[in-house]
């Protein structure tokens, strides 16, 4: 395998970003310039995807899938440090890439889904004045994301990790002149930074105990000496998991992701659904050797994952903004992936990561197509009946919706059931939570589907569940927190390049073509993980592929969990049944009865519960009041303390000095000092009044403080001598 080829995979998008980034200043948006932008943006990502495929295929062709690591150069040679347990180690960090089954999988998902979304964006963003800037950011994102998955140690991963955070910040804030977008961007970055704080401390602990951050060395040491490292891995894994919570939007750091929908829809699909937000899952699976050494950390991961899965799913039920539904759905699905990792079903986590990338990208892009077709509208209550207007979007969305709901034969079914089977083996309680969350998922997704594509188009008049919501018109909608915004689809208002109230239309081929490819993947993507219970092999092809990543612990080699086929089939039946129930409810609530009387009645009957859910449990408000408010209060107090106490003392000393000695030295000042000043002033040809004014009044203090210091030291000297 050639290192140059490996290096080209991330470098090409970086180059594209650099070129388009510079061009963004200089070039007006003419059709010709747009073509050139496309050339660089699509060319670099497309080529990178092809090279990645070549690399992956040649790696797969090798007999044994041992990791291939190439260090390009020593990046940070920080010197020798102390390793716990004795000895020194060189804490150097290489800029290194690693190819193994896990990074190959991620590589394929990132490059190809990324490339598809780039194509889609050429259609979706075609009316934007910031077209070139947009693609510069997108390419930069691809570069960072590829660093993240290719990195051969925790540090290179961290570069990508923070880098994708930056791109997310830039792209969420793409419509930067809108305050809600600017706020959402900042919120995302800072929430991520809180996570990175934990990640960084985790890396330091790894250095302290392993003397390196290199995957190969760390995992080999941990794998060879499980007893030696078992104690510290809990702390390491929990700290790393804090980072994962930030990046992958888990409780309690998930709040930034729903707001991130302020970015253009292709961004939501690429960054906030398919790739970046799954980085936390990737990191946990990457560190599986460490996690497996700490049952506590595994339990925490599983519980947080399950809690997030159900928590976000319930919120998704009551959102009316199509992108908000999908955003909470993403949070919930990421919870499923962490649940998988926490219960030890690491391959299921990555499997679901992959299928989720297909169907969620498809859903987001489909939603984008809907928004595009409806003139920037995002409120599902103003949609309806779109299947007549946009058939291609409709069919692809249906496939993706079936996939996420866990319908057999669709991709989501296989990955989700592998997760649930793993969860059941670990703890039936977690399994139950997962199944209920899956039921909610089926419900809110079909609610979305029915509200959007069935019934009559409601965009001509204003209809709402709660009548007459005030129109905000896209101005300053989210003052750093969510408000009661069921009614207003503010985010892509900035995208409103069409007049309002027109007839919806199907999107161009650049968009629908991508939808079709993704829908196809959402249909067939699950077959590589066909479960043994349904006549497949054990382990499944996907599990066998990932097996080299799951090292042995001590003398115990990794084994994939194999339950009894009967139990697994029963579990599948249960989850499919619950999902079917969700679909049915959605059907009766939102399709059969076009006045939506049942959900409305339920909302009135259980007003409190409804308000809680519709307002996302007021978590944003609570954070505003506690964390953000508290920090700002602390800042103001610190600032006052600085002015009145720290600096106050300094000024007090000044006043005392001037008062006591000032008068006595005035004579000295008048003759000696001013005389000298005048002399200096004349020679410099500048000894004017200004200079003199600056000068007088300080030299006396010079002498005083010098004297004072000597007196002080003398006193100290005398005392200590005695």
């Amino acid at each position: 395998m050639s290192p140059t080829l490996l290096l080209l995979i991330p470098l090409l998008p970086a180059l594209g970003a650099l070129i388009n980034g510079t061009r963004a200043f200089a070039k007006p948006l003419t059709p010709k310039n747009r073509t050139i932008t496309n050339l660089f943006a699509l060319g670099s990502t497309g080529l990178s995807a092809i090279i990645a495929t070549v690399v992956v295929v040649s790696y797969m062709g090798q007999g044994t899938h041992t990791p291939y690591v190439h260090a390009f150069y020593t990046w940070i040679s920080s010197g020798f440090g102390h390793v716990a347990g004795g000895g020194l180690a060189n804490f150097a960090v290489d800029f290194a890439f690693r190819i193994d089954p896990l990074s190959c999988t991620m590589l394929m998902v990132v490059t190809w889904v990324g490339f598809l979304i780039h194509i889609y964006a050429t259609g979706y963003m075609s009316h934007e004045s910031g077209y070139t800037r947009f693609f510069a950011y997108m390419n930069l994102f691809m570069f960072m994301m590829l660093l993240l998955v290719l990195g051969g140690n925790y540090m290179v991963m961290f570069v990508g990790w923070e880098g994708v955070g930056l791109c997310s910040y830039l792209l969420i804030g793409f419509y930067y002149d809108k305050n809600f977008a600017a706020d959402a961007g900042k919120k995302a970055f800072i929430a991520n930074r809180i996570g990175d704080f934990g990640f960084l401390l985790g890396i330091f602990l790894i250095f302290n105990y392993f003397g390196t951050a290199d995957y190969t060395k760390v995992f080999a040491l941990a794998s060879a000496n499980p007893e030696h490292y078992a104690g510290i891995t809990t702390a390491i894994c929990l700290l790393l998991f804090v980072g994962a919570c930030g990046k992958s939007a888990q409780i309690p750091l998930y709040v930034w992701l729903p707001d991130a929908m302020a970015g253009p829809t292709p961004v939501s699909a690429l960054i906030h659904a398919a790739t970046m937000v799954t980085a936390g899952v990737y990191m946990v699976v990457r560190s599986n050797v460490l996690y497996r050494l700490s049952p506590t950390a595994m339990l925490v991961v599983a519980i947080v994952g399950a809690a997030t899965a159900i928590f976000a799913a319930t919120i998704g039920v009551a959102q009316n903004d199509i992108k908000k539904v999908l955003a909470y759905s993403t949070v919930s699905q990421l919870g499923f992936m962490f649940l998988a990792a926490g219960v030890g079903a690491f391959s299921a986590a990555i499997f679901h990561l992959m299928t989720h990338a297909f169907f969620k990208a498809c859903l987001f892009l489909g939603a984008g197509s809907v928004i595009h077709g409806c003139g920037g509208e995002q409120d599902m209550r103003k949609m309806g009946g779109l299947r007549k207007y946009m058939p291609k979007t409709h069919w692809t969305m249906l496939i993706a919706t079936l996939a996420i709901a866990g319908t057999p034969l669709f991709a989501g079914f296989y990955s989700k059931d592998e997760i649930l089977a793993g969860a059941f083996a670990y703890s039936p309680a977690l399994w139950a939570v997962g199944v209920i969350a899956a039921g909610f998922t089926a419900f809110y997704m079909f609610r979305l589907y029915f509200m959007t594509f069935y019934g009559e188009y409601r965009g001509f008049e204003v209809v709402g569940i709660e009548q007459s919501e005030p129109k905000h018109g896209g101005e300053d909608l989210i003052p750093s927190s969510a408000h009661l915004d069921q009614g207003d689809a503010h985010t892509d208002k900035a995208h409103g390049h069409h007049a309002h109230g027109h007839v919806p239309h199907e999107s161009p081929w650049s968009m629908t073509g991508v939808l079709i490819v993704l829908a196809f993947l959402a249909l067939v993507g699950g077959y590589i993980g066909w479960p043994a219970a349904l006549g497949g092999s054990h382990p499944t092809p996907f599990q066998r592929w990932l097996e080299p990543v799951l090292l042995a612990l001590g003398n115990e080699p990794w084994e994939f969990h194999e339950g009894s086929a009967t139990v697994e089939i029963l579990l599948m039946a249960a989850s499919v049944g619950v999902a079917a129930l969700g679909v049915l409810l959605a059907f009766f609530f939102y399709l059969r009865d076009q006045t939506w009387s049942v959900p409305k009645r339920l909302a009135t009957r259980f007003a409190l519960a409804y308000r809680m859910v519709a307002n996302k449990y007021y978590v944003d408000e609570i954070y505003d009041a506690t964390v953000i408010g508290g920090t700002l209060l602390l800042c103001r107090m610190a600032s006052l303390f600085d002015i009145y106490v720290v600096d106050g003392l300094v000024n007090l000393i000044r006043h005392i000095t001037v008062f006591i000695f000032g008068h006595g030295s005035s004579q000295f000042d008048k003759y000696v000092v001013d005389g000298a000043v005048n002399g200096i002033g004349y020679t410099a040809q500048g000894g004017s009044t200004l200079l003199r004014r600056v000068q007088s009044g300080f030299v006396q203090n010079y002498a005083l403080i010098m004297g004072g210091g000597i007196v002080l030291m003398t006193v100290v000297y005398l005392f200590t001598k005695a």
Binding site: G79, G87, L88, G163, Y176, D177, I190, G709
Partner: protein, 548 residues
């Protein structure tokens, strides 16, 4: 380029005094009305100095240890009666700081062309004088000489703030001068006590001296450091501490900084941030740590606590500033806290990070002040609330500001991260608690810089005064781009910087903790060799070979 390896050419003196000569030339041969000539000469002089200083790095041998640690040495008797010598020599740390000085000096002069319209002659003369003072401070290896440069440096800066500063310039200038001066006096006392201890033994704290020939030679003090009794070291360290901590500035001696920064003209702020704030940290590394190892070890905890308070407290205060320059000034308190924390981790990681972060802070914060100066020149206000939505009107400015802010908040791939990470790695290797508290500064750093960025550049462009602002002109672009290039360079390939400072840092580490590397002999963790690959655990012998 034989002048760099020819011992008879005093290259360091040449680099130090070229600005002084340029300044004298302007004083005597250029009329003050001829502003164009003054600007041109000042810029050319600074440029020559910068160009001359670059080959220092090429001819510098980073592997030099022992007597070769300090290179380009020049030494002759100056005042033999009291043992004062004129000794110039630099190690890798001083080398990088000199390069930083000559580069930012040039940028500062070049950036002042349109900002300074009054008393231009005095202004450029003072900037050049300041340059000599700063370079001399980094070169001097004789306490007496060092102290002379140390104080010479203060005077031009005092006038720069006092004459060309903002509204409260007098207050700020006097505060700056007196505050730093009072610290210097205590440092002077420590130097004198060292001098007497080394020579004829005027007893201080009842401790008799060593009876050597009187000298101010710094390197000699490095060698007698371990002979100084711990009590004496404690007091001497305190003296140095006040001198340097005020200069750094460390919490709670930092309040002169926001005033000085806010009131200084742009070039003054740039130099203050880039170079003058490094003097304190440099002083610790060059003098306090190697000469007073016991004193250092006794005071680790208080210094580290103050550093961490500086990091967190500085960041908290930064968050609520309404004035851009003040905001950046307070962020310096936080950043310099990192520098001090890394230094007092007293291991190679911490110290390397600390030195690198000095350079990084100079580049990033210098660039931030430069950028704020550019907008100040257009709008004559530093208040954040006056701005908003500038990204639309000044896209290039907004982009460069963002890169600089990202470098300052420690985004991986840019310089700030390398420094902060290495510092925290060193601190964590001593205590995870230190690293844990200090890393809070990184979270808060993102908060204050991005909030600043949002308020200035994002949001609607609704202030009519901002709607006709011009983007960067070529001169402004030229001042800022070299700094951006350095940010990327250090962020991606800091290897050459680490190589340059490796030996000096090891020298300091071993002065303070001679046993540091000896711990290699300690047993490695018990490895139950089931199937650990051979590469995982190098044998002790190999590891020792790796160290030296």
């Amino acid at each position: 380029m034989g002048i760099y390896n020819n011992p008879s050419v005093p290259i360091l003196s040449i680099i130090t005094f070229i600005p002084l000569i340029g300044a004298l030339f302007i004083v005597f041969f250029v009329r003050k009305e001829n502003a164009t000539a003054i600007k041109a000469i000042a810029t050319i002089v600074a440029a020559i100095d910068f160009v001359l200083s670059i080959p220092l790095w090429i001819y510098f041998d980073p592997k030099g240890t022992g007597a070769r640690l300090f290179q380009f040495k020049e030494s002759f008797d100056w005042i033999p009666a009291i043992g004062v010598k004129y000794t110039f020599a630099i190690d890798g740390i001083a080398l990088l700081l000199i390069l930083l000085t000559t580069m930012t000096g040039l940028i500062a002069i070049y950036s002042s062309f349109s900002a300074i319209t009054q008393r231009q002659k005095e202004y450029y003369v003072l900037l050049l004088l300041l340059q000599t003072g700063m370079i001399g401070t980094f070169c001097a290896l004789d306490f007496f000489l060092f102290y002379v440069f140390w104080e010479v440096m203060l005077v031009p800066m005092y006038f720069l703030i006092g004459i060309w500063g903002g509204e409260r310039r007098l207050y700020a200038a006097i505060k700056f001068f007196i505050y730093t001066l009072s610290g210097s006096v205590l440092m002077l006392l420590s130097i004198l006590a060292l001098y007497f201890f080394n020579s004829d033994g005027i007893p201080f704290l009842n401790i008799k001296g060593l009876g050597h020939t009187p000298t101010f030679d710094v390197l000699q003090y490095h060698n007698i450091g371990h002979l100084i009794p711990p009590t004496l070291q404690f007091w001497l360290f305190l003296g140095f501490f006040f001198g340097f901590a005020i200069k750094v500035p460390m919490f709670p001696f930092h309040t002169w900084l926001p005033d000085a920064h806010t009131e200084a003209p742009t070039a003054g702020s740039v130099i203050l941030a880039a170079v003058l704030l490094k003097m304190g940290a440099y002083g610790f590394i060059r003098f306090a740590l190697p000469i007073l190892p016991d004193g250092t070890r006794q005071l680790i905890i208080p210094v580290v606590v103050l550093s961490i308070i500086g990091i967190v407290y500085g960041a908290l205060v930064t968050l609520v500033q309404k004035d851009m320059k003040k905001l950046i000034a307070y962020s310096s308190v936080s950043h310099l806290g990192f520098v001090m924390l890394g230094m007092f981790a007293l291991n190679p990681m911490g110290l390397r990070g600390s030195v690198l972060q000095m350079i990084n802070h100079g580049i990033s914060t210098g660039a931030l002040f430069l950028l704020v100066g550019i907008i100040y020149e257009r709008r004559h206000t530093r208040m954040i609330a006056e701005y908003g939505g500038l990204a639309k009107q000044m896209p290039m400015y907004a982009t460069l500001f963002l890169i600089t802010a990202l470098s300052s908040l420690g985004l991986p791939g840019l310089n700030g991260f390398i420094g902060e990470f290495t510092i925290l790695l060193g601190a964590a290797n001593r205590s995870m608690v230190w690293a844990g508290f200090a890393a809070l500064g990184i979270v808060l750093g993102a908060a204050y810089l991005l909030w600043l960025y949002q308020r200035v550049f994002w949001g609607p462009l609704d202030n009519p005064k901002n709607q006709n602002l011009l983007d960067l002109n070529r001169r402004e672009l030229l001042t800022i781009l070299p700094l951006i290039a350095c940010m990327v360079w250090i962020g991606i390939a800091p290897g050459i910087f680490f190589d340059t400072i490796k030996e000096p840092v090891d020298y300091v580490v071993l002065k303070v903790d001679p046993q540091y590397y000896a711990r290699l002999a300690a047993p490695a963790p018990e490895v139950v060799a089931t199937k650990a690959p051979a590469a995982v655990k190098p044998a002790p012998a190999e590891r020792i070979a790796e160290v030296r």
